[in-house]
Symmetry: C2
Subunit: 333 residues, 2 copies
């Protein structure tokens, strides 16, 4: 590990930011070294099959706009979808704490099933483990998924060049803030619903368009996702603050707590990268879908500031956007 005294797992190792990257690079990749794993995509591409896994430990289990069941479907379906694949089959594995309410379990399963049906994926295999009271926190769910590549273009970071446009399908920061409010830790009472949703119905509409790359900005938010994209690259990304779709409610909560909405997790958002000439067409298709009505072009791939994400503020100044370093909001997914 970089630094001194890094001998224990910290909460920040799970936050999706720089500490997570350090743990993955220095421990997981070193020991589990595999060419496909090292590509560090959200899913592994195996011929025309895409394969991914995600575990959900969100607390609380129910939050405005969703619950751990819907999250477990959306998270994995979205990881498959952004690879340019049609999600087909999911596994569901549960770790349940002794004493957990079977009524609550049924509610979660109902939500899981409905979310799967909403995007046409099938839950085909599963596993259940029960641990003693106090040895887990209610319920943890892992979903793994298989999808089939079906986009006209092979999507790849390597296709990104200066001039390309960054499109997002709607308001930022809704998931992280909705979970935060559900925890009632800050006494803030605002009506903010999580955006948690399986995005395949929207993204499948784009399969015959000229798309270069897609990614879902989850843990660490847009700031993390864009920074991952520019790291060690010969291009930078410039986003325009005035184009970022952020609701006044999320903006307000972020102001109070000193957060930045672009660092907050989303669970129903995708960034789509297309060339300057294709971007408007992609945007118009996205806007026609219920999951993309608030889509917007928020930035451009640039030659200047290679390796960095910069933000053009409403005042005309420019600043560098860093990925979140520590753990802003643990266990939001």
């Amino acid at each position: 590990m970089r630094g001194i005294g890094m001998d224990k797992i910290l909460l920040s190792h799970g936050g999706g930011g720089r500490k997570t990257s350090e743990l993955i690079e220095n421990v997981f990749q070193t020991y589990l070294n595999d060419d496909i794993l090292l590509q560090m995509d959200d899913s592994a591409v195996l011929d025309d099959i895409v394969f991914t896994t995600d575990t959900f430990v969100v607390t609380p289990l129910f939050f405005p706009g969703g619950d751990i069941g819907r999250l477990a479907i959306a998270g994995t379906v979205n990881d498959l979808s952004v690879m340019g694949a049609k999600p087909l089959y999911l596994s569901c594995a549960f770790i349940i704490e002794e004493g957990f309410s079977i009524e609550t379990l049924k509610k979660i399963l109902k939500s899981l099933k409905e979310s799967a049906e909403e995007c046409g994926v099938r839950i085909v295999t599963g596993d259940t483990k029960v641990v003693e009271k106090g040895k887990c926190d209610g319920i943890f769910i892992n979903t793994s998924g298989i999808g089939k590549l079906n986009f006209k273009n092979q999507l790849s970071q390597k296709k990104i060049v200066p001039g390309d446009r960054i499109i997002i399908n709607g308001n930022l920061g809704l998931h992280g803030i909705s979970v935060l409010i559900a925890r009632n830790e800050f006494g803030i009472d605002v009506d903010i619903k999580s955006d948690v949703a399986p995005l395949s119905p929207l993204l499948q509409e784009l399969k015959d368009l000229d798309i270069k790359f897609m990614r879902d900005p989850t843990r660490g938010g847009l700031a993390q996702t864009l920074n991952e994209l520019v790291t060690d690259k010969r291009f930078g990304i410039k986003i325009n603050e005035t184009d970022l779709p952020i609701s006044p409610e999320v903006e307000g909560v972020c102001d109070i707590l000193g957060f930045e909405a672009i660092q907050i997790a989303n669970e129903g958002k995708v960034i789509v990268i297309a060339s300057e000439s294709d971007a408007e067409n992609v945007l118009s298709v996205m806007k026609k879908h219920p999951l993309g009505t608030d889509s917007a072009i928020i930035g451009t791939v640039t030659e200047e500031n290679a390796g960095f994400v910069s933000l053009l503020t409403g005042y005309g100044t420019e600043r560098i956007v860093m990925p979140p370093i520590g753990e802003l909001l643990p266990r939001i997914c």
Copy 2:
């Protein structure tokens, strides 16, 4: 749920026995209803692809003969292998408790990687979540896997008929008892090593033979696996006590604690079912492999006692073998 007052998850719901079956049938299958899921195989068969998932919550993390890393590979590889598939790709998802030792994590990852290499599967995608201290028990690992069907025969319970032979690849009860001893709860000090091993190197040797069905007797042991096979069937299974490979050490511990070795979990065992005329050939191939040197024919599919597993004792008496009902040994996998 059957019975009155079944409103909370009990440890026995995770034991692999009758309570687990009740939970799966009455809750999971009802809510996650899918044709493939309802087939209740260890893996889902999707054209020529097999897909499975398993979570590992074993305590302690290290035990004689293995650790949670080796278990996480063997468990999923074996579930794919018994379907008649060559295991190809695994995902690995970790839930880690804040404060967990990174040195211990590295040991687990090393074991995971070595076990994967031992059987030629690739770990191609992963996920890590960190939860606060006290919210999980050290580390939990989920592995999901993809394999490709490559057996000459399609394996199916439907092919089983009276006269068929039941073969096992070696000593029973080693895994469950080794974990039990590692917990030091009973002050028993015997040298019993877990049999945890990925079985694909052995089972791939059988792919061109006339095999009818295979299954790995894990949670609930041989008793559970055989009972699942005869449930609602027009045949029974009779096993011969004197043919069962059980080591004197396992026999001794079982005698002391009032357990039956056939109800104890294995993690490197498989039952193979073949016709009377093919069984000796299958047995001889199995005996030549290091994972099958102690293989034996232990029983026969019978017309009598349809729906039941019976045991012919060393004294010539016969008794019915029931599946374990409650939770003998929680968290052995």
